[in-house]
Symmetry: C2
Subunit: 275 residues, 2 copies
């Protein structure tokens, strides 16, 4: 008798139904949900999956930009995929997610043929105690996307319980071990989602919630499929920080490091904040 | 008699002719040219300009992603502009540049209403001698896009004349003062172009040319129009670096700092290299 493991929520909830060569149907995730709609990392993953599942795809994802146009509400959505250009080394895609008449998100995906040519890795992974020696963070309210990740903070652990004075502004930097919960072997899908799985930096700097939302996210994937497989379910060393919060728009920079100090993804985003 | 200053090449060459509400015509620049077609910074600027010139535009540019699909050759091109979503605080655009039947570049632009709310600037500008004390670099061959910029390197000055052994790999980091040549008051257009005006990092690391091309570029604009005006024609302090060169794809990270240590733009790109 074959006993099949239950499908991981990330795989299950990003499953798309093909309507035609260029159109797919999906559904907002209850696992990867946010207080104001769908978690941006899920949106990134499902838009990437639309390209990953396309029979015309050549190579592996190298870059993904997601523009968050409107909140994605419960229920179904439709994704339109357009192959813009296929060259010898790279392939360019545009993707668009609609809910009813509303364009809720647009994305561009660049795929590439990675080849065993000259390589060089000057960037150095920060030092950190091994995951076993850093306690798992348990301060999130259960439910929603934060329950889908195991996080172990060495720096910049969120703390929204200790009252803080208004002018008490602290570092926006976090350093943590992170992996999917339940565990799941790393692939481009989980990297895409994880690249948005950092608490909004303004919350950390200010110690309080303010109305906020990611408006655009760009993630670069730096490894081939072998590098993904080598990582397996081992936690990734992640850092997230912000350069500035200016006139209602902040940035966020994230680095996701794999085994042996190998950088597997880098990500930048712009976050709108109301006040 | 009114004596009018000649139009700056960046303004002149990014001028677009409106064909309809959603379509514009332009022409490849002879000033901002590259050895294999058009300079990527020019492409970024002209795609941004298509949105800047649109009467439907609300707010100022906050983010720009350009995907380089094919070389842009001499002659004319057409740009299609699509307003994807306009909200209270942000506006999302898709732009596409075609030469004949070929999609040569796609872009997404996010505009936003910057407002005088809580702001905070934790990032610190690197220290550097003032521009007057750093000599202007004169090592580029005359002509093409490098002639359109005045660069003063404190670190990572290109040197392709001194022979180097194959295994002699050096730092990919540059730090320089840069401004438009001829001088031109800073605006979003020049920032967009300048964010790609760094020598390919692989050339610097390896001390030799290899076939290469930017495949995607994302630039975030961190200031409002007042911050642009405050900068004027003063050189910007710029840094450019790479995390890694892996399997034929490298990244590049750039920071463009304005007066008083204010970060005005950050940019990341993926560069394909052949060998």
């Amino acid at each position: 008798m074959l006993i099949r493991a239950p499908m991981h929520p990330l795989d299950k909830d990003t499953t798309l139904e093909r309507l035609s060569a260029d159109r797919l149907a999906g559904r907002a995730s209850t696992y990867y949900s946010n207080f104001n709609g769908t978690f941006g990392g899920f949106t990134a993953a499902v838009l990437l999956r639309a390209v990953l599942d396309d029979p015309r795809r050549q190579g592996v994802p190298v870059a993904l930009t997601v523009n968050y146009c409107a909140a994605i509400n419960d229920g179904t959505f439709e994704i339109a995929v357009a192959e813009k250009r296929t060259g010898k080394s790279t392939q360019h895609w545009n993707v668009e997610l609609r809910q009813g008449e509303t364009v809720a998100a647009t994305a561009s995906v660049v795929c590439g043929h990675r080849r065993a040519v000259w390589s060089h890795h000057p960037a150095e992974m920060p030092k950190m105690l091994p995951p076993e020696q850093v306690p798992v963070f348990s301060g999130f309210k259960p439910g929603g996307w934060t329950s889908q990740y195991e996080m172990r903070f060495a720096e910049g652990e969120p703390d929204f319980m200790t009252p803080r004075e208004d002018g008490d502004i602290r570092s926006a930097r976090s350093q943590l071990w992170m992996r999917d919960r339940p565990e799941r072997p790393l692939d481009y899908l989980s990297l895409a989602s994880m690249s948005d799985a950092f608490i909004i930096r303004a919350f950390l700097a200010r110690g309080k919630f303010v109305p906020t939302g990611t408006i655009t996210l760009t993630t670069f994937f730096h490894g081939n499929e072998e590098a993904m497989r080598a990582q397996g379910t081992h936690p990734m060393l992640c850092t997230a920080d912000a350069h500035l919060f200016a006139d209602g728009f902040a940035d966020q920079i994230a680095h996701l490091w794999g085994k042996d100090g190998r950088l597997l993804a880098t990500s930048t985003q712009v976050v709108w904040y109301k006040e």
